[in-house]
């Protein structure tokens, strides 16, 4: 009896204790900022990294020539350049093909070097030669060379497809070509573009690691590109592990690297010799913890200042003591259903019979515009926005998200209309589809509940329309997802794209152009269709004209084509949010860094 009453006492104590979490009034560690994130940092090399977690680190250590005005991604401010080139101040010349950047003096690198225009040129040249497969440099090869990457240039200049096979002489020839684009003139660095390109500044701006300026002498000492024209083959497409800047840094930014424990934690210290006022925080620590509940408790205890949270848990944090939750921030992202117009049916379980016989779908299932439209009409957009996204975010209106040029909140969109869907299903394949029915498996990558829900909605609605329609929803691992896309076996599945730089071109190319990232996965008939119907040339035209209004018309037309032909199933543009202690001050949202924070202006104080 005595023992069991002790047991009951202990149990009830545990219950009471578990109901409350200690709260703090004063600011914890006022000079140290702790963020808890998910995932891992890929690389600290600003020219190599191309993911959110890494770009946050780069943005605080390295600096570019120009930066966005605080909280506004349509306006620029000088950073390592002393002026932002405009036509008015004469630093954009020759009809927008010459950009001139006067370089700031008296800026020192963390390791002691002084910034010179030579460093600027070296930084860009190193990156262009570096051009790692899957890296960010295609963004700059476009405006500077009208090419997709270094291999295009080597092929064009010396006829070698793989830059690692260049001989020293060929390398020098290729280098001469690259060299034409960037030159140093006194304390200015001059970029020469083959034709006007309105995206150029938005590519080299701070937030985008490829424009980071590194110290030439120091980098060469560490073993980065030696500055010689003849060694391109040696330095092209480096492996991460042999990249000398993979884990050491030397920038001009407000913070410098203290320690990087890979996969666990990174600590940055304030740069006290910063060329502007030093930052207010002495130290920034970013921890990587995958368990949401652990992150939440650390925030509640005040041991973390900002934690990463998936949108679906927002109901848990809305009224927490001492915690501020800001949602509804713009997120430059388009989530959509990719429909493969030419499905490879060979050995593909997802098309079942692989024929139009009621027990499967034929290869050209999604080539039929009526099928695509019917699918578009079968999506429950309102429920998706209001329930899955908790009312934040909006239905996507095509590839281009708000607030880019071409986004128009009055443009036509699909709504859920099962009668229209039925109408289109009846027209598809001359009525044959309606009579015979079909069975298809649509895919989502496991762990992504949003995509699973979108697929479930399609299944739920379409199976109501006709009892002979059968949709299976199958979750597959990312490995298989990737494999199916590359191999052309993908049927329909949800996927998304976030902005690399602030221009609609960054969305129209991957989604619409026949050789874009997703265009490649939409099958041969989509490619032909896009070429024949002028989609490709329209996308290209978007960056050939510089006039804002003219561009806007082009992008509106692209949005309209996406709607008119139901090329894909455009679903949603989410919002971003941040979850932090209320003592965090000086934070502004940067949609390009997204979850990343620029810590320069941040401080901690209880108000």
């Amino acid at each position: 009896m005595k023992r069991s009453s002790i047991l009951i006492l202990v149990l009830s104590m545990v219950l009471v204790l578990s109901l409350t979490v200690g709260a703090f009034a004063q600011v914890n560690n006022p000079n140290t900022f702790t963020k808890i994130n998910m995932g891992t940092i890929d690389s600290l090399d600003p020219h190599y990294q191309y993911d959110n977690a890494s770009s946050e680190i780069y943005a605080n250590i390295y600096e570019n020539l120009i930066m966005f005005k605080e909280g506004d991604i349509t306006q620029y401010e000088p950073l390592l350049a002393t002026e932002v080139p405009t036509v008015n101040n004469g630093l954009i010349k020759n009809d927008g093909t010459t950009y001139i950047f006067p370089i700031r003096e008296g800026v020192t690198f963390h390791e002691g070097g002084t910034l010179t225009p030579e460093d600027v040129k070296y930084s860009f040249m190193r990156g262009l030669i570096h051009d790692r497969n899957g890296g960010p440099w295609w963004m700059l090869y476009g405006p500077l060379f009208d090419a997709g990457g270094l291999s295009d240039i080597t092929e064009q200049v010396v006829g070698v497809e793989n830059p690692s096979e260049l001989t020293a002489a060929q390398s020098a020839e290729v280098y001469a070509e690259l060299d034409k684009a960037i030159s140093v003139d006194g304390n200015k660095v001059v970029f020469n573009l083959p034709k006007p390109n309105p995206t150029f500044l938005s590519v080299v701006v701070h937030d985008n690691g490829l424009g980071a300026i590194i110290d030439k002498e120091w980098s060469i000492e560490q073993g980065a590109w030696d500055g010689s024209p003849e060694t391109i083959a040696e330095y092209y497409d480096p492996a991460k592990e042999s990249d000398p800047l993979h884990e050491q840094t030397n920038g001009t930014g407000p913070f410098m690297l203290n320690t990087w424990e890979k996969g666990k934690r990174i600590a940055l210290d304030r740069n006290d010799n910063y060329w502007r006022e030093p930052a207010q925080l002495e130290r920034v620590i970013i921890n990587y913890i995958d368990e949401w509940s652990t992150r939440k408790l650390m925030l509640q205890r005040g041991d973390a200042d900002v934690v990463y949270m998936d949108k679906q848990y927002q109901s848990q944090v809305e009224n927490l003591d001492g915690v501020e939750f800001i949602s509804g921030l713009p997120n430059l992202y388009t989530g959509y259903g990719l429909m493969n117009w030419t499905i490879d049916t060979k050995g593909n379980p997802d098309v079942h019979s692989g024929e139009l016989d009621g027990n499967g779908v034929p290869s050209d299932f999604f080539e039929d515009i009526n099928v695509r439209k019917a699918f578009n009409y079968s999506m429950n957009y309102d429920a998706f926005v209001s329930e899955v996204m908790d009312g934040d975010g909006q239905q996507a209106r095509g590839p281009i998200p708000e607030p880019f040029l071409g986004f128009d909140e009055d443009s036509p969109v699909y709504t859920m209309d099962l009668e229209k869907a039925e109408e289109h299903f009846k027209k598809a394949f001359d009525g044959e589809l309606w009579d015979k029915g079909f069975e298809i498996t649509i895919l989502y990558n496991t762990g992504n509940s949003m995509r699973k829900t979108a697929s479930d909605m399609l299944k739920y609605n379409i199976e109501q329309i006709n009892p002979n329609f059968k949709i299976n929803v199958r979750g597959i691992q990312w490995a298989s997802y990737l494999d199916r896309m590359i191999a052309g076996k993908f049927t329909l599945g949800f996927i998304g794209w976030g902005a690399d730089y602030a221009d609609p071109h960054n969305f129209t190319v991957p989604f619409m152009r026949s050789d874009g990232t997703f265009g490649n996965f939409k099958g041969e008939s989509y490619k032909e269709w896009a070429k024949e119907n002028g989609v490709d040339s329209l996308v290209n035209k978007g960056v050939e004209v510089t006039d804002r209004e003219e561009r806007e018309e082009i992008y509106k037309e692209i949005q309209n084509i996406a709607y008119e032909y139901a090329t894909d199933l455009y679903l949603y543009q989410p919002t971003a949010h941040i979850l932090m202690r209320d003592w965090v001050q000086g934070w502004t949202y940067d949609p390009i860094l997204h979850d990343g924070i620029y810590y320069y202006r941040i401080y901690k104080a209880q108000e």
Binding site: V14, L17, S18, L19, T20, V21, G22, N29, T32, T34, T40, I41, D42, S43, Y50, D51, N133, G134, G135, P136, W137, W138, G148, G149, D237, A239, K240, E241, N258, T259, E261, K262, G263, K264, R265, A267, I285, N287, I289, D290, E291, S293, T294, L297, Q300, R301, D303, Q477, W478, A479, S480, L482, D483, I486, A487, I495, G496, D500, P510, T517
Partner: protein, 343 residues
């Protein structure tokens, strides 16, 4: 005994090669594009990838024996390869994660075994009465509640509410000391390093961070040890010599705790030995919840990303451990019970 140990050690390389071949052939069942997912973790990374170039560069399309040969010849040279999921070399990844797991696992071993044995002896002494049933049912509940449920409740109570036992391995201030030049990292076991550096604040902090996960693990494994102890005890308690002892009027306590427990421990040692391996490789969930960046979590992640250098490296390492542990178990039999001879 020496020749037995030598023989077991000679078999070691055969087993290790067998193990890695088995894992490798499993991974090779996937096509090169699927294995590319180790390097392309997100649709965003598809932006400018020429997948075929990448496949060629990484040699993913080569015949399996070439790929395996590349890997094994690297290992022979002491190069375990590069782990994409860790972002470092495999060796580095293991060296930085092994101490975290080992510290937790070894520290947990003591309460697990001691607690489990006490519970088991308790239950066997009370065989088939009320306390036997209560302790068994409680242990089974501990065993069947998923670790993450229990771990999160522990975290909530001991960290969220009381603030006593925070997650991670060390507090931020302690990490700064550990990472500073004045502190020598002999082993990366923070408790041992703290002692060696005579910095007891570090030792205290490290222990403080280990309490909650150790409790979580203990409660989970008690049922396991308890069951073995209980049945082993029940068997021993019926043996002739125990009966004789009882008949001779030896006190019940002496019979149970001096004579029976000692003999009942033999199967417990076997199980505990195998459990060490489970503890080192299977702490995925505890590590995730308490943010201890250890081997379990790392291996699970590597396996999911098909990061084969890491998975193979891990298999090598665990195979090695398994054989060592089995050896220790065999040898300790001989020590506990001199009648057992090793063949």
């Amino acid at each position: 005994m020496i020749s037995y140990i030598v023989r077991r050690l000679l078999i070691l390389p055969i087993i290790l090669i067998g193990v890695t071949l088995l894992v490798f052939s499993m991974i090779m069942m996937l096509g090169p594009y699927e294995r590319l997912s180790t390097y392309i973790k997100d649709p965003a990374e598809l932006k400018n990838v020429d997948v075929d170039v990448l496949v060629t560069k990484l040699g993913l399309n080569d015949p399996w024996y070439e790929q395996y040969g590349r890997w094994i010849s690297g290992v022979a040279r002491g190069d375990m390869g590069w782990s994409e999921s860790a972002g470092s070399t495999v060796t580095q990844a293991f060296l930085s994660r092994f101490p975290a797991t080992a510290e937790l696992g070894l520290l947990a071993l003591l309460p697990v075994v001691v607690g489990g044995v006490i519970l088991g002896v308790f239950a066997s002494v009370h065989h088939n009465d009320f306390w036997d049933h209560v302790s068994r049912v409680l242990a089974i509940i501990g065993w069947s509640v998923p670790t993450f449920v229990f771990g999160l409740i522990m975290l909530m109570i001991f960290y969220g509410t009381l603030g006593w036992f925070p997650p991670s391995r060390l507090d931020s201030w302690a990490l700064d000391i550990v990472n500073s030049a004045g502190f020598i990292n002999y082993t990366n076991f923070f408790i041992i390093d703290g002692l060696l550096n005579a910095n007891f604040a570090i030792v205290g902090n490290a222990i403080r961070h280990l309490v909650a996960p150790v409790i979580t693990i203990s409660i989970l494994w008690w049922a396991f040890i308890m069951r073995i102890t209980r049945s082993s005890m029940l068997e021993i308690l019926r043996r002739d010599y125990i009966r004789t002892a009882r008949a001779k009027g030896v006190k019940e306590n002496v019979v149970v705790y001096k004579h029976a427990v000692r003999n009942a421990l033999i199967p417990v040692v076997t199980v505990a030995g195998r459990m060490v391996l489970g503890l080192l490789g299977g702490l995925v969930i505890t590590e995730t919840i308490f943010n201890i960046k250890g081997l379990g979590q790392f291996m699970a992640q590597a396996a999911q990303q098909l990061d084969y250098p890491a998975v193979l490296g891990g298999t090598l390492y665990f195979g090695f451990l398994l054989i060592l542990i089995n050896l220790c178990v065999d040898v300790s039999y001989a020590i506990i019970d001199p009648r057992i001879r090793l063949e």
